[in-house]
């Protein structure tokens, strides 16, 4: 099935309580699949087509606030609209899942695939000092698997989690094993797991109030310090990545999501030519696998950041390598998907020239 359909089926199977979304290409199949599957009749999952992405994200905010597993999906311009709500979720520490099936930008851009929302996802498009955990699937299987993982991380850390996919993975059809069926949590389970949630004040506790507002600046600073310590813990514990043929690599290609699929072909073709290339695929874009990049940087002659954008993740690689290893970027924009040949040419023409 398609990546977008996998997201919908995985949501029903992993005990998701609510999906709120607004149609936008190339991800409308998520809402369409849910509408066809009618999970409200089986698991009791709520599915609602909202009036806008603004409403969708605020519904996710509300559902998470009340202790429920809620999600939305959209594509780049729609996710841009949601940034206010994501910042509020981070500020009020409300868990929830946002799926971005990226398309080319800026602005209305194109409906073709792109990875140009890396900055938006990892730096936060909203206001304030906050981070969103970002997972980058590279297959239809991972589209399905990351839904439950995202909910687990979101509730573990009371933080929004984003699946940063793109139009290639969203529209691509692949075989997959659907995750096992897991029932939605009962009210008693929610009360136990989320004592902070706003779903009706029990007599024995004080009212729960979820807000990101604090007029006293010293209290607001304390809140921020708490958030920062949480982000530090996430950076220590939740970094995920995969490496391929890195043991003896002389050249490292770093690529995520659909670019990593192309990257796999690139390193195979390089090896056939006798170029010892390896691939590092960050699975979490935030937290970024900084230590692994730094470790491999000492081993290789140079690093190519291959992204389907103008060069965004390359900044995280430069921060990890501190200028001690030659680093360059190759990518295409506007919805154009690069071929493996182009990447190898870039490796030779851009990276090799930088190596003394």
């Amino acid at each position: 099935m398609k990546g977008n359909e996998a997201i919908a089926h995985a949501a029903i199977r992993c005990g998701c309580d609510g999906y709120f979304g607004y149609p936008i290409t190339p991800q409308s199949e998520v809402l369409e699949t849910l509408a066809l599957e009618k999970p409200w009749e089986t698991t009791g999952m709520v599915v609602l087509q909202a009036e806008s992405e603004l409403a969708s994200i605020n519904m996710v905010y509300a559902g998470g606030a009340s202790g429920k597993r809620c999600m939305t999906s959209s594509s780049s311009p729609g996710v841009a609209l949601m940034q206010e709500g994501i910042a509020y979720m981070a500020g009020a520490e409300i868990p929830g899942l946002i799926v971005n099936v990226q398309r080319g930008g800026p602005g209305l851009g194109t409906i073709q695939p792109s990875q140009s929302d890396y900055f938006q996802a990892t730096r936060g498009g909203g206001n304030g000092d906050y981070n969103v955990i970002v997972l980058a699937p590279a297959s239809v299987q991972e589209m399905a698997d990351f839904v439950d993982l995202a909910f687990q991380l979101a509730f573990k850390y009371r933080n929004p989690v984003m699946i940063l996919s793109d139009g290639i993975i969203g529209q691509m059809m692949e075989k997959l094993v659907l995750p096992p069926f897991k029932p939605r949590r009962t009210e008693a389970q929610i009360q136990k797991e989320c004592p902070w949630a706003t779903n009706g004040r029990k007599k024995e506790r004080k009212p729960n109030i979820l807000t990101s507002l604090e007029l006293d600046c010293t209290k607001m600073e304390q809140r921020n310090l708490h958030l920062q310590s949480k982000y530090m813990e996430i950076k220590e514990k939740e970094v995920r990545f995969e490496t391929e043929m890195c043991e003896d690599a002389e050249y490292l290609i770093v690529a995520f999501g659909s670019a990593a699929r192309i990257g796999m072909k690139v390193i195979e073709m390089c090896r056939e030519e006798g170029i010892k290339a390896g691939l590092l695929r960050p699975i979490t874009l935030w937290p970024f696998p900084t230590k692994e990049v730094a470790r491999l940087a000492k081993q290789v002659k140079g690093i190519l950041s291959f992204e389907i954008n103008a060069g965004q993740m390359v900044e995280d690689i430069l921060l990890a390598t501190h200028g001690q290893t030659p680093v360059t970027h190759y990518g295409r924009m506007g919805g154009v998907v690069p071929t493996p040949d182009e990447v190898i040419r870039a490796l030779k023409e851009k990276l090799f020239k930088q190596i003394p």
Partner: protein, 260 residues
């Protein structure tokens, strides 16, 4: 009756609702918010919904409503309260879910969320405080500011050429298929307060009976923003606001609405 007799519990004729806590309110003396807060707290208690209420506060003067009424609260982004309430009610159908919003929040920045939540027939209640001005930010023009009325962003008075016309949101709400009860009340006299209480109670009951969306507009004073004494503000409201925002029910289909 002696003082001691008067103080006996059986002779009590009025008390502060238990849900209304002792936090000093930030509202200006003479403002309508305090009265409406008290009504909301009383009604939740009278309905026995203390443990099953999720209230949504707005951005505006009532942003801190959560500090005063001891139920669970979600603070919504500016204008988004009806979307927040829609999700909570759908996910927790046996909860009492209401929003408490001002004119800027409901009828300006949140017009889309308000219209669509009402039109979807969400089983929620919206309390709409209309004082025709932005109180929290210091008295700027609101969507409901009357023609000719002076605010800090229309200091020479509201004129159509520059500012457009006041929006009668409640009239629009009454035309929507999803609403079952749309009413306009005020809290400037004891009689008005009693009527407003009945209206809010009815809206809350509609939410619990799943009859559709209810909107209770409370035409309110902002004496600080209007730069009038509390008493003069009430008088000004009667003479000016009630002409454009007349009190009474605009729609009530609750008798024939199916219960969900």
């Amino acid at each position: 009756m002696t003082k001691e007799e008067i103080m006996r519990p059986e002779n009590l004729v009025y008390k502060k609702p238990t849900l209304l806590n002792d936090t000093p309110m930030h509202y200006c003396p003479g403002c309508s918010h305090g009265v409406v807060h008290k009504l909301v707290a009383e009604i939740i208690e009278e309905m026995g919904m203390e443990e099953k209420t999720v209230a949504i506060s707005p951005v505006g003067c009532a942003v801190f409503a959560y500090n005063y009424i001891d139920v669970d609260w979600i603070e919504a982004a500016h204008g988004r309260a009806p979307a927040v309430a829609s999700a909570v009610k759908r996910l927790w159908p046996d909860r009492l879910v209401f929003t408490y919003q001002g004119d800027g929040d409901l009828a300006c920045i949140g017009t889309a969320e308000s219209i669509h939540a009402l039109n979807r027939g969400e089983h929620i209640a919206i309390i709409f405080i209309n004082n025709a001005i932005y109180g929290m930010t210091g008295g700027q023009m609101a969507p409901t500011t009357l023609m000719g009325m002076k605010t800090s962003t229309c200091p020479y008075g509201r004129v159509a050429d520059l500012h457009g016309y006041p929006l009668n949101f409640t009239e629009i709400a009454a035309t929507l298929e999803g609403t079952c009860y749309v009413t306009r009340q005020s809290v400037h006299t004891v009689a008005a307060i009693r009527k407003a209480k009945k209206a809010i109670r009815k809206a809350f009951e509609n939410s619990m009976q799943g009859k559709g969306a209810s909107l209770v507009e409370i035409v309110s004073t902002c004496n600080a923003g209007w730069k009038l004494s509390p008493e003069k503000a009430n008088q000004w409201m009667e003479e000016n606001m009630f002409k454009f925002y007349p009190l009474g029910d605009l729609k009530d289909t609750t008798a024939e609405s199916p219960t969900h």
